[in-house]
């Protein structure tokens, strides 16, 4: 996938209004639209790419670029973040406006803009469309999701709408590829059509007082129509936007215009909205026909239950419990199969290679290390399949609605939900998607708590410990203790994230809570192709990570566990010789250094080493265990699996079991809270300002999460022992 450098807006530069398509048949097209209009789906359908799509708003948070070719030549398409207007009040809206006005660094001003409008919500979508039409750029309106609109009894006349807007309107169903050929032809022809102009007029006084602002913008190179749009927009905003920073005296001119508008008895902040929506109301009346009796739709009836104040959260919890339970129930046979596969592979390689360090490196380092992580591929695949189904059906948007109540109660912005939800997959894109949050304090609070959401890297650890130490017993008739334990780990992370956010919002990052306006999409059946793409993407990322960084770290850990060599004392059994070798190795010595720090948590030095190595990435804990318990062991068809070895592990001297259910739960709690991911730390540095400012925030986050992890694991273990559970 090719991505443009996003988020950068150029320094003041000479304006470059588009005067039509560039030569050579190459066309630059920008795709804009409200969130959840199927914009990313249309982008994928046009370009054949696999940009992530979701049945909730806010999926696209930065520019993504793709290409297709028509009869006249290549076309470059930029998918911009979803935005309700060009007000530039949040970083992603500012990026969209900067691209459309030709001030985005490294990107030319687009030759054609495609506004993706949801046919079922035309009134709201036309606000953005009317702003884009005034930018002085050839524009095509893709009237998307016409099938869903018709099913809801909403019929839009594209021809009539074309006449009203002064720009071509093409009906599309992006999910089925309908209308794409017509859209591609309209895009190619758009530069040769007359540019659309403002279709409504402002009150006489407002038009007069805005003229000096428009003149300044026109003198700075803006198309006259774009100058008009910007002048009207500027009346309502507090910051003029970085893309206008080069226009001399603009702030003063806007302030003077605002004062005159107020003196004329008009409200500057709502002038644009009132003017545009007045015109939009007339357009909708002339172009939209509604049929049906207004009876409650299927979506309304289902929402009456799923969004109910009491039933909604209960259904949400029950659904999640069933999802987590099925992860264990369904994946167990597959895990056994993968374990057998790696066991047989290890035995085959051990037999084929001559005895020595190379044999041990391949069998105990590579196969045991990487294999111990790869056995959890089935669970990761099943989890993302279920999450994909929930997302595709539109349920995740309902989950956001249910969670919004809790988020507001802790002072978090409603827009924080989508980044937090992304954090369940990976914290890195989650941190990046906080760019949709306007308030810097809300954004920072969200970034600070986001890594507490259990990401997919924790799944191998949870799966290993739950599958090994938590019994598979039925709870409440239909639930299973293993699934409930996994759900508890996810809930623990989520509730702690909300609690910590509440503390931040009352202390370091004080500010008022802002409401979220979120559109609830209609329920629909999941699309198998989209689901397959999403699940295979997650699986391939997991495999790639196992085949690169985890492989390399497994090799290094094997070396640390193998050297320096310790000669076995006379009379030692194989097991004692293996233990002596490990204890005398560099890894063993390091482990014994950290052992006093982790002993209060109930851990031995091997777990301490696993925790240390997983500072690079959490899954490395599992591969470290695989390597530690693999080094020196005989590999054959009957070799014990890692799970069996962990169950049998005892403390030297006392002979007591190292891993009890209490230790396992404590260890999982530690990983729920600990910030052990280099990639996330790096992106936090960058997204919190970079340089020393970013380093300080990342260090603070790392520190508080480590303290939380250690304290909680200590509380679980020592508290459990006091209660007689350990």
């Amino acid at each position: 996938m090719e991505q443009a450098a996003a988020g950068t807006i150029s320094a003041p530069a000479a304006p470059s209004p588009a005067d039509g398509a560039r030569g050579g048949g190459l066309l630059h097209v920008a795709l804009v639209g409200n969130p959840n209009t199927g914009k990313s789906t249309l982008f994928n359908a046009l370009t054949g790419m696999r940009q992530r799509v979701g049945n909730y708003s806010g999926v696209t948070v930065e520019r993504v670029e793709g290409r297709y070719r028509d009869d006249a030549g290549p076309v470059t398409v930029i998918d911009l973040p979803g935005t309700y207007s060009l007000s530039a009040s949040s970083p992603d809206e500012e990026i969209a406006l900067a691209v459309l006005t030709g001030r985005a660094e490294g990107l030319p001003r687009p030759d054609v803009v495609v506004v993706v409008a949801d046919a079922a919500n035309l009134e709201r979508n036309l606000f953005l469309a009317s702003q884009v039409l005034e930018l002085g750029l050839p524009t095509v309106v893709a009237l998307n999701q016409v099938d869903a609109a018709q099913a809801a009894g909403i019929h839009v006349d594209p021809v009539e709408l074309t006449l009203e807007l002064g720009a071509p309107v093409v009906a599309t169903v992006a999910t089925r590829g309908e209308g794409l050929d017509v859209l591609r032809r309209a895009v190619r022809q758009a530069p040769s059509l007359p540019l659309a102009e403002r279709q409504f007029s402002l009150p006489g006084e407002a038009a007069r007082v805005l003229r000096p602002v428009e003149e300044r913008l026109a003198a700075a190179g803006f198309h006259p129509s774009a100058a008009g749009m910007e002048a009207l927009r500027l009346l309502a905003v507090t910051h003029i936007g970085r893309h206008l920073a080069h226009v001399d005296g603009l702030g003063d001119a806007v302030a003077a215009a605002r004062a005159e508008v107020e003196a004329a008895g008009l409200e500057p902040r709502s002038l644009e909205a009132e003017s545009r929506y007045g015109w939009i109301g007339d357009v909708v009346e002339r172009t939209v026909r509604r049929s049906g009796t207004g009876a409650r739709t299927f979506t309304d009836r289902v929402d009456a239950v799923l969004l109910h104040r009491v039933a909604g959260p209960l259904v949400f919890l029950a659904l999640m419990a069933l999802v987590f339970q099925s992860i264990f129930t369904w994946s167990e046979p597959l895990i056994g199969w993968v374990e057998g596969l790696f066991g047989a592979l290890g035995a085959a390689v051990a037999g084929a290679l001559p005895q020595g360090d190379l044999n041990s490196l391949v069998v105990d380092g590579v196969i045991a290390g990487v294999g111990s992580v790869l056995v959890f591929l089935p669970q990761i695949t099943i989890l993302f399949l279920f999450l994909g189904i929930l997302e595709d059906t539109g349920y995740m948007a309902r989950a956001a609605f249910i969670m919004d109540r809790f988020m507001r109660s802790v002072g978090l912005h409603g827009r924080s939900f989508i980044p937090l939800l992304s954090g369940y997959a990976c914290a890195v894109p989650g941190v990046m998607s906080t760019r949709t949050i306007e308030s810097p304090k809300d954004r920072l609070a969200t970034i600070m708590v986001l890594p507490l959401m259990s990401c997919s890297a924790r799944i191998p650890i949870y799966a290993l410990l739950i599958g090994t130490f938590i019994p598979s017993v039925v709870v409440g008739g239909i639930f299973n203790l293993q699934g409930i334990t996994l759900l508890a780990m996810y809930l623990l992370g989520t509730l702690t994230a909300l609690g910590v956010a509440a503390i931040f919002k009352k202390t370091l990052l004080r500010g008022r809570a802002r409401p979220m306006i979120m559109e609830l999409p209609p329920y629909r059946l999941p699309r198998p192709r989209g689901l397959a793409l999403s699940v295979s993407h997650r699986a391939s990322l997991f495999l790639k990570k196992a085949g690169t960084i985890i492989l390399a770290l497994s090799i290094l850990l094997w070396a640390l566990a193998t050297y320096p060599k310790t000669d076995p004392a006379p009379g030692m059994t194989d097991e004692q010789a293996q233990e002596a070798q490990l204890a005398g190795s560099a890894l063993g010595r390091l482990g014994h250094v950290v052992e006093p720090a982790v002993a209060p948590l109930g851990y031995d030095w091997k777990i301490g080493v696993g925790i240390l190595s997983s500072f690079a990435a959490r899954e490395v804990f599992v591969s470290t265990m695989g390597t530690i318990y693999g080094v020196g062991a005989e590999a054959d068809e009957g070799s014990a699996t890692l799970r069996e070895k962990l169950r049998a592990e005892t403390h030297r001297g006392s002979g007591a079991l190292v891993y009890t259910p209490l230790v396992a739960v404590g260890l999982m709690v530690f990983y729920v809270f600990a910030m052990m991911c280099m990639s996330t730390l790096a992106v936090v540095v960058r997204e919190t300002g970079g340089g020393w400012t970013g380093v300080r925030w990342a260090a603070f986050q790392f520190g508080y999460m480590l303290a939380l992890a250690y304290g909680s694991a200590l509380l679980v273990y020592q508290g459990g022992r006091l209660l007689g559970w350990g």
Partner: protein
């Protein structure tokens, strides 16, 4: 030094170089904060 030991040393050295390179790239990406938002290694966000 036998061939096996040499091979093992080369593999371990290659792994060390790879891990070091990954750390370096991650740290450099963090330092380039304002210039080019993008992704960390293996983050899953598409880069």
């Amino acid at each position: 030094m036998d061939v096996q030991t040499l091979l093992v040393m080369m593999i371990v050295a290659a792994a060390a170089v790879y891990v070091g390179g990954r750390w370096r790239r991650t740290l450099l990406a963090a330092r380039a904060a304002h210039r080019k938002p993008g992704c960390g290694p293996d983050c899953g966000c598409g880069e």
